[in-house]
Symmetry: C2
Subunit: 593 residues, 2 copies
């Protein structure tokens, strides 16, 4: 028997009591969420991770107990025993699941006291972010945070069960490893035993999961921590969690098929939503062309339309040149927006320019049937008719147009589309639109590095029919790469991998690695390619983001128990922190400030 | 359709085919394990993770196919289609599950070739450890390694399912965190954004899991990577995996009860062995006294026996002093060992001395009924009779005796016991003896540091009835700590934690931390204790060791996919390695060699 709990043993969780429990003797333990005094009555909302139940002290039943209840303050931890009773009809609280009952307390033990917390443990807290993070253990007590973390746990379980049932082995890969190449900046860990040498924390287990395929494990998965020492954007964390999957003896369809089943299972189990399979599969080219994004949001239409045919001979230079240089002329029909003020159009124009368009042109089809345009003097009647026809314009519509290099123009118009979608409330927040984007380019030209870089990573296989282009037109080679997209966000991405040594070496060459460089960075990996490599491919999902989307959270910090701030600090523990000189000496390093 | 696999689609796994499949057309993919040529026949053992199946090429069926089969070498990766046929009775191979059938091949595709591997992929490999580690992907192809890693995966699943079903939430804790105090040496990670500051990789998520209890999550678990930068003993790894568990509103019995159910479930599911519950619970004192170990191996008897009563007035000084100083006199009856040569006794004596005994005394009761002893001249007849009686000595037995300080003497005799148990083959390798060791001392005196250190860790609660001793005799205070022991190895250990700020501060005081020190290292943790802490406790299991014991592996390296060597190197990837000066500059450190 524990003196700690005075022999009291919890019989029930607060949030699970209901009318069916009326008359039962129960023992509950939890936090005081709120105390209300009503003369000879004290009401306490008692909270645990399942929810809240009202417990009652009555001076008339036990004045000693009543006076002890008077000591209780918010966030005290208590154990109580008592009887579940039905509330009087007028006292029923429909806002909480336990609102039909309350517990008449017969025994109270204060397990731990609390000072007044720096903010109220309540979903509607107005506490600043940094206060929430410093007192994270209080923030995490809020029901919405409890729900997020519990949902995260449930998603992990659904994923694990599905993968287990489908023959995937959970195998752990090293955290103290060698620098991952072609990626972001590594976090380094100095070695004490080997002076001057360093481990790198993994940016992903990419090489190791491929080595597991080479080891014959056939199907692998891991929900695994990864690290990137990058300047943090709003919703990035220096350490993040990835659902990492790899399988052997498969082609792209096999990977896509099983992965969409996985995601459909998650939606079914967690959201109660049936996702219709197979998912839509859209080429990178089509996604860019129609939605101006390689992660198109399909919750609304307002697609990008192609005006090249109509305007290829336009007297407007930008149009003519765009078409002549193999670019495009993209239009959006903003239905019913002919009434937009000049200022509104200007702000859309700013969006387009931010993403690389030279400008945004407009044609207004007023409710009176009048046509106004920034282009009037350049357009022939025929061209104008063509524009109205391609965009199915009706009186009241606003047509927005941009022209130029294909990717840049599509991207800019894609952002204009999203801006409009939000502005016009076209996006149904309860809708979940999933699709695969496939046929990504294998390479993209980096102006900065003056060389091709891998669009996905250097282990991605080109499409077989494009292999001949590797030498002649590398920029045109499509990859066996795929992204799963949900509501305009990338949930995960992957590829079929190169599985021959020759192709892998060729790829390193195309990426501009010297033989020596390739050898020092990937020598051990290329060596493995000598001894029988199965065709294989896989995918990785950003788990934090997945949980964020499925819980409807605004920030990734709301689905991670102990997240870091934008300068990679843990405000709770104070990491990173200074360390003893002795520790640094042992690691054969010194500060260089 | 994939050109890669020429549209072939795997229908079956090699090791799962059986007589019931006779007549079926199948497509298999895997590695060439062995090729045998018999005139116009070629037999290939084809291997995947499920096992091996024999496939046959016959020159008479298809001479073109036959000649391509002639190209095959060990570790080539191939896809084959063909018909499952029953083997002739004389060709049946009882050594493999698929030995009753073989596959007549109609189609062959070589997916990837292999050079001659540096060692044969076979359980009986004689390859040196460092070669196995360098070519880990070949080593992992060996059936015994496949089995180990698959069993590891299965154990993780059983553990997760059990904990899920019992309301434990899987919650991830940070990897980039603050130095864990009172532990081993930390691995440090320099911060780029905050010059001069460092993260530490976690030695365990101890503080975070307690903070999760303070956050109200009630039940937590994680299978989590931990790190210790210690000089590696034979079977330690710099990174290792822990099953980490914590629960709120519990006393010790609650933790023990659910954890022994967990372990029994693992034994049932993985080994098919029923563990009888509740497990034996033995105090630290009893374990030391009877088995000379805080992790007693109960697979055999030969307990330590106490001779203090018999020898307290002995003329042999060591005996008299031991008893007078509160120590002990411990004996072991090595049944039937009266025939031991002097050399054999000497070597046991060496064991005793290695573990701190001053010497090992002996009494031989020969088969002729004669008594010989290193002590003859010191023992009265009465004392000798007493020894024979307490040890139930019979003709043929050898009695070994040591005396001195309690813990040191028990420990030394415990090792003598283990040595004898092995030497005499008393240990049944198929037996699994589980127990709890409880009531550990809270503190132990460190000669080195000249202060008390925590036996478990500084967050462990003392037993309530021993709290008054904290000031007067801290060394006598027992902790609410417990270890689960399997066959003489610690599987896991844990404790009920301190849950009040006052006691936690007192504990830091007893451990000799200045207020300032406690504040800088644990300030954030003590701060959390201000806001309502539930009574809580937990446990952590060494997952690698658990898998090692359950797979009967000799080394922990055999149950980790990519382990490190004794100097913390990964021979496969070459980690740790040198890094660019630029990387170090960004991290504000330089080498100090």
């Amino acid at each position: 028997m524990s003196e700690l709990l005075s022999g009291m043993k919890r019989t029930d969780m607060c949030g699970e009591l209901d009318l069916k429990d009326s008359g039962r003797e129960v023992t509950l333990m939890g936090w005081v969420n709120r105390r209300r005094d009503l003369g000879s009555l004290i009401f306490i909302d008692l909270r645990d991770r399942t929810g809240i139940v009202q417990i009652v002290f009555n001076e008339e039943w036990d004045s000693n107990l009543f006076s002890r209840a008077g000591e209780l303050r918010n966030e005290f931890v208590i154990a109580v025993s008592g009887t579940v009773v039905e509330r009087a009809p007028e006292a029923v609280n429909d806002k909480i699941p336990t609102g039909k009952i309350e517990v008449k307390v017969k025994e109270l033990k204060i397990l731990s006291r609390s000072e007044t917390p720096p903010f109220l443990v309540d979903d509607s807290t107005k506490a600043a972010d940094n206060v929430r993070l410093k007192y994270r253990y209080l923030d995490l007590r809020r029901p919405v945070m409890q729900k997020n973390i519990i949902t995260r746990h449930r998603i992990a379980k659904v994923v694990r069960d599905f993968l287990y049932d489908n023959g995937f082995l959970e195998i752990e890969t090293p955290m103290l490893t060698k620098s991952t190449p072609e990626g972001a900046r590594d976090y380094l860990v100095p070695s004490r035993v080997q002076p001057g040498k360093f481990y790198a924390l993994p940016q992903s287990p990419q090489l190791f999961k491929q080595l597991l395929m080479i080891s014959g494990f056939d199907r692998y998965y891991q929900i695994v921590r990864c690290f990137r020492d990058e300047d943090l954007r709003a919703d990035r964390q220096p350490e993040f969690t990835q659902i990492d999957i790899e399988m052997s003896f498969v082609d792209m369809d096999d990977v896509l098929n099983i992965n969409e089943k996985l995601i459909a299972t998650v939606f079914k189990e967690i959201m109660g939503i049936e996702i219709k399979l197979p998912l839509k599969r859209m080429s990178y080219y089509e996604a860019m062309s129609r939605y101006g994004s390689d992660k198109p949001d399909l919750r609304f239409g307002m697609e990008l339309l192609e005006l090249s045919d109509v305007l290829k001979n336009s007297s407007f230079n930008a149009f003519k040149e765009a078409v002549a240089n193999g670019g495009c002329i993209k239009a959006i029909n903003a239905k019913g927006c002919s009434v937009f003020a000049r200022k509104e159009i200007d702000s859309l124009s700013e969006v387009a320019k931010t993403y690389g368009a030279k400008g945004l042109l407009w044609v207004t089809y007023t409710h009176d049937g009048e046509i106004k345009s920034s282009l009037t003097k350049y357009l022939t009647n025929e061209e104008l008719d063509g524009i109205l026809k391609v965009t199915s314009a009706k009186p009241g519509d606003l047509i927005l147009i941009a022209a130029g290099e294909f990717e840049k123009t599509c991207d800019a118009m894609g952002h204009v589309r999203l801006e409009l979608g939000n502005k016009l409330n076209m996006i149904d927040k309860d809708k979940y639109e999933l699709l695969w984007v496939v046929d990504f380019p294998l390479l993209e030209w980096s102006e900065e590095e003056d060389r091709y870089v891998a669009k996905h990573h250097p282990f991605t296989s080109p499409r077989d029919e494009d292999i001949p282009l590797l030498d002649s037109e590398p920029g045109k080679v499509r990859a066996k790469a795929y992204d799963m997209v949900l509501n305009g966000t990338e949930l995960g991405g992957g590829s079929i991998r190169i599985h021959t040594r020759e192709m892998q070496k060729k790829m390193f060459n195309i990426l501009g690695f010297s033989d020596e460089d390739a050898q020092s960075r990937f020598g051990f990996f290329l060596e493995a390619f000598k001894y029988g490599v199965p065709p294989h491919g896989g995918i990785a999902y950003g788990f934090d983001r997945m949980v964020m989307l499925l819980t409807g959270s605004e920030s990734i910090k709301d689905v991670i128990a102990f997240p870091k701030t934008q300068n990679a600090s843990c405000l709770l523990s104070g990491a990173p922190s200074e360390v003893d000189t002795k520790q640094l000496e042992e690691l054969h390093i010194k500060l260089d400030l």
